[in-house]
């Protein structure tokens, strides 16, 4: 066997290193009780959302589906979580609602993370006018109250789930931009970014090859912590009338429960389950995200 | 007076709890400080000298184990109830911390930080903030300042004023001149010296710099890896140390007033040992240039040397004629 055969290409080296890092994260996560609980809960909700068509038929969400069922019926063998004010099964809506809530939460997070990381990376790396302009924009978005802004944008741009996700993403990136910027600044103080620049690498290369990998763990942990906020915002917007009643998210279910008077009618099966689902998923993301933060940033350990 | 020292420490062990397990920072230390006496305690950072200082008033983290005995003016510090301990702190022994940068509360005025101690231990002997500031050469106006408005030297004066405010018997000065520039260092040393003399105070003066001990201490103890390796009268020890570590430590700083030493500074090779995994035998043997085979297995106890009754050394060469004072 020749020597070349056992040599590992740089690319393979990188992948090996990444795999080892991932394994380390997994091992530490395994021992982080609250973080691991969060992960298990997330897996559960992920499975439910993915398997929604197997649990309940989508046609059960149609207004016509409840026509022959009793309105606001208490839980029974046929309707495990009772029915809503137009006779539709609450459980079916809950199961399908997990798709809507998780989809909007995740899409919004992607939008927020992309905007936030870009603004953070550039404003941290580029000095001068561009940097300070981005910083000023970031400051502005930190001050502007995000829910009223999201409301205004959603009213103007439309009420579909995708629009809601874009709007939520667009209103929740400022904090992570600030975080990424701080990390970039502290990375720049270490030598290797300077070195790469001195070797003649252009900004694009330095940012993508040297700065981004350094801030990536932080971005991932931060993203995990943006999701719960996005899900909460989605539920708030749905509660305030946005979203689609025929494909309801958990927040939309709460809106229906509130406006149908289920509270005064003691129809707890209508308003409790969606609320509990929101709390559980938000909690799960928060626990998981905080665990990632602890693993990636040992300074935070023991918090 | 010799019979009842202000501070009497016997067989003191201090063990921290860390995530890697217990860390022995102080390993069996005996100390005596008589009334009006100043003991200098020298060693590299990490040798356990600051831990020792903190343990004297039980100011170590909660999970830390302390064993042995500490008698402060005859009272046992380690067996005291918390209430009594609080009365002893500052009133019997106070501390001048190193680098007054962060040891003063940044959002409280200087005056009220000094006054806080006075109010806490008010008695017939209590003094006023103004008197204390005057004592350390600061103007009344400083009382209204915040720490960030003072220079490093001024802050250290404040610290000294605070330490004196409750008329303690003993002052523990933990690297009081580190982080100050040389001129200010000299002023602070002078100030401490004057006050000590005027008030007949006892002092434990902790430093990594042997040269600052030369003119203001009565006795000097040298610490290495949590133990005292040499102790003796200041003059004698500084002029001719017996333990190879003391010798190396003395040579790494120029001796004030000795131009020869200035031109031949000798550093000490290597780093102090990790308290988690101390070398076998004498913990200094990996860095020692006169170590013999037995040093790797036998740890010599601190014991009196034949040539001077006041001196104790923990080294196999302690009584070698060839290693004596040159």
């Amino acid at each position: 066997m020749s020597i070349e055969a056992v040599q590992v290409s740089p690319r393979q080296m990188t992948w090996l290193r990444r795999r080892r890092a991932l394994l380390r994260v997994w091992r530490e996560l395994r021992h982080d009780r609250s973080g691991f609980t969060g992960l298990l809960l997330l897996v559960f909700f992920g499975v439910v959302a993915a398997a929604a068509p197997l649990i309940a038929d989508r046609s059960e969400l149609l207004a016509a589906a409840g026509r022959n069922n009793p309105d606001l019926a208490a839980p029974s063998a046929k309707f495990l979580l009772g029915t809503d004010d137009i006779g539709r099964s609450v459980l079916s809506q809950l199961v399908w609602g997990s798709r809507v809530s998780l989809f909007i939460g995740l899409l919004a997070t992607v939008v927020a993370v992309v905007i936030g990381s870009t603004v953070g990376l550039i404003s941290g790396y580029v000095k001068g006018r561009v940097g300070s302009l981005l910083l000023a924009i970031d400051d502005f978005f930190l001050v502007v109250p995000f829910l009223p802004l999201a409301i205004v944008l959603a009213v103007i741009l439309g009420r579909s789930p995708v629009t809601l996700a874009l709007v939520i993403g667009f209103t929740s990136w400022a904090g992570s931009a600030r975080l990424v910027r701080a990390q970039v600044l502290s990375l720049s103080e270490r030598g290797y970014v300077e070195r790469a620049r001195a070797l003649g690498a252009n900004s694009r290369h330095v940012i993508l090859r040297h700065v981004l990998p350094g801030v990536a763990p932080l971005i991932i942990a931060n993203a995990t912590l943006i999701v719960p906020g996005a899900i909460l915002t989605e539920s708030t917007l749905s509660f305030l009338g946005f979203g689609d009643r025929l494909s309801p998210s958990w927040g939309k279910l709460l809106d229906g429960a509130q406006s149908s008077g289920s509270i005064t009618l003691n129809a707890w099966w209508y308003y409790l389950p969606p609320g509990i689902c929101i709390i559980t998923v938000v909690l799960a993301f928060t626990l998981f995200g905080r665990a990632l933060e602890r693993i990636f940033d040992p300074r935070l350990a023991g918090r | 007076m010799i019979d009842s020292p202000v501070l009497k420490v016997r067989d003191l062990y201090v063990t921290y709890q860390s995530s890697f397990g217990p860390v022995p920072a102080v390993r069996g230390v005996d100390l005596d400080i008589a009334l009006g006496e100043t003991l200098g305690l020298a060693g590299e950072s990490g040798c356990g000298k600051s831990t020792l200082a903190m343990a004297l008033l039980r100011l170590v983290p909660p999970a830390t184990q302390i064993s042995g005995s500490i008698l402060l003016d005859g009272q046992s510090v380690l067996t005291m109830k918390p209430g009594q301990l609080r009365l002893v702190r500052w009133a019997q022994a106070s501390i001048v911390f190193q680098g007054a940068q962060h040891v003063l509360n940044p959002v409280q005025r200087i005056g009220s930080q000094i006054d806080e101690a006075i109010q806490l231990h008010h008695g017939s002997t209590s003094s006023t903030v103004r008197e204390m500031l005057a004592l350390v050469g600061l103007s009344d106006g400083c009382a209204d300042d915040y720490p960030h408005e003072l220079s490093g030297g001024q802050k250290q004066r404040v610290m000294i004023a605070m330490a004196l405010s409750c008329n303690p018997l003993l002052i523990i000065a933990d690297e009081p001149t580190t982080a100050l520039d040389v001129m200010v260092q000299a002023q602070i040393l002078q100030l401490l010296d004057n006050i000590k003399r005027e008030r007949g105070l006892s002092m434990l003066f902790i430093t990594h710099d042997l040269s600052v001990l030369s003119h203001n201490t009565d006795r000097v103890a040298v610490m290495y890896a949590g133990r005292i390796v040499e102790v003796g009268p200041a003059e004698e020890l500084l002029r001719g140390s017996i333990h190879p570590y003391s010798r190396a430590l003395a040579e790494s700083f120029p001796i004030i007033g000795d131009p020869k030493s200035r031109h031949q500074p000798k550093g000490l090779a290597g780093d102090p040992p990790d308290p988690n995994s101390l070398p076998s035998g004498c913990p200094f043997h990996p860095r020692c240039n006169v170590a013999i085979d037995s040093c790797k297995s036998i740890d010599i106890k601190l014991s009196a040397v034949t040539k001077s009754i006041d001196r104790q050394v923990a080294c196999v060469h302690a009584n070698d004629e060839s290693r004596s004072v040159k």
Binding site: D139, F140, L142, V143, V144, P145, F146, L147, P148, I151, V152, L153, V155, I156, P228, L232, T236, F239, L240, G241, L254, A257, Q258, I263, T264, N266, W268, G275, I278, I279, V282, L283, T286, G302, R303 | L57, L59, R86, L87, V88, W90, A91, S94, I95, F97, H102, V103, L104, N105, P106, V107, Q108, E116, A117, L120, H121, D145, Y146, H148, E149
Partner: protein
């Protein structure tokens, strides 16, 4: 705190306000291509009616002319008329502002006091029973949408016990003057302010706990202990005043969330303030109202941030204290 610091903060608040006003125009006139379409279905408008609406909304002329018109009317606090009630927007807002100020004011004070207390104690006694229980509880509080709290309070307290009214500002037909009316108003405020307080207690106490943990290792705490201070006094006199500093700015930033919380809380309790007005404006696509409400909400946050900056200046002697 000196004159320069105050001036700087005032100026920056003013500039942010200007930026919000400009941003507001951008949102409603540039992002929104056709505001008129949202006026209750355009088909019903005749050409003459359209002309009137364009005039009234300040939509005539180039974007630049529209901008000048907008700035002028905003400076006069003229926000046009509500699509829904057709009353002047300024009137609608000034009628409802006091109720919201009261609700948000009470809740913010309660949240800060309780949150700072819980966070400070949990951080100080890190790892203790109090810390474990309160941290778990605040995580759940944090994860709960505040309007869900409102629904639970309605269902289990107002509904089951009848101790508190289920909504509104005052009882119908009740005496509107004197002490009885104050009691009645207070009675109607209990559940909404409790909802809003519970909704944001979690984040405030987590913020304070983190700041407290960051001060734990500070040398001046060792100094205080060495002086012989009780643990309680070390915490209250030395740790808390320092830990409050970073918390002030974070709490100011979180105030934007409380504003959002007021919208849903008022909706749950039909509490006729600006929040309920916002919910109504959403359902009616009432652009003039939304535009003004957004301006009010942003101004509230800017003012609160300014107050926080000034408080910071008072708490931290290192900020701009000229020697």
């Amino acid at each position: 705190m000196n004159f320069l610091y105050v001036t700087k903060k005032l100026l920056s608040a003013f500039l942010t306000l200007i930026a919000v006003v400009i941003f507001n125009f951008f949102l409603f006139r540039v992002v929104d291509r056709d505001p008129l379409a949202k006026y209750r279905g355009r088909s019903k408008l005749s050409i003459a009616q359209r002309e009137i609406m364009i005039e009234r909304l300040g939509l005539n002329g180039s974007k630049w002319q529209q901008f000048i018109t907008y700035i002028k009317s905003t400076a006069r606090l003229d926000f046009g008329r509500s699509f829904d009630s057709t009353r002047p927007v300024l009137r609608e807002i000034s009628d409802r502002l006091p109720a919201t100020l009261l609700l948000v004011g009470i809740s913010t004070i309660l949240t800060i006091l309780i949150g700072v207390y819980i966070g400070a104690r949990a951080g100080w006694q890190r790892g203790s029973r109090f810390d474990r229980v309160s941290t778990s509880a605040t995580m759940v509080l944090y994860a709960t949408p505040e309007f869900f709290f409102g629904m639970l309070l309605l269902a289990f307290i107002a509904g089951r016990t009848g101790w508190f009214p289920t909504g509104g500002l005052r009882d119908v037909g009740a005496d509107t003057s004197g002490f009885a009316s104050i009691l009645d108003r207070a009675h109607h405020l209990v559940l909404p302010s409790l909802t809003l307080t519970l909704g944001y207690l979690g984040s405030y106490s987590l913020i304070m706990r983190t700041s407290m943990l960051e001060t734990l290792g500070e040398d001046y705490l060792t100094t205080a202990r060495a002086k012989g201070l009780r643990d309680r006094d070390v915490m209250m006199r030395h740790a808390v005043p320092n830990a409050l500093l970073p918390s002030v700015s974070f709490i100011a930033i979180s105030f934007g969330f409380v504003i959002g919380g007021a919208i849903t809380t008022e909706t749950v309790f039909s509490y006729p303030g600006l929040g309920l007005a916002t919910a109504d404006a959403i359902r009616n696509t009432d652009l003039p109202m939304l535009q003004a409400l957004f301006l009010v909400a942003s101004s509230a946050v800017i003012i609160f941030n300014l107050l926080a900056d000034l408080t910071y200046g008072l708490l931290d002697p290192r900020i701009g204290r000229a020697k």
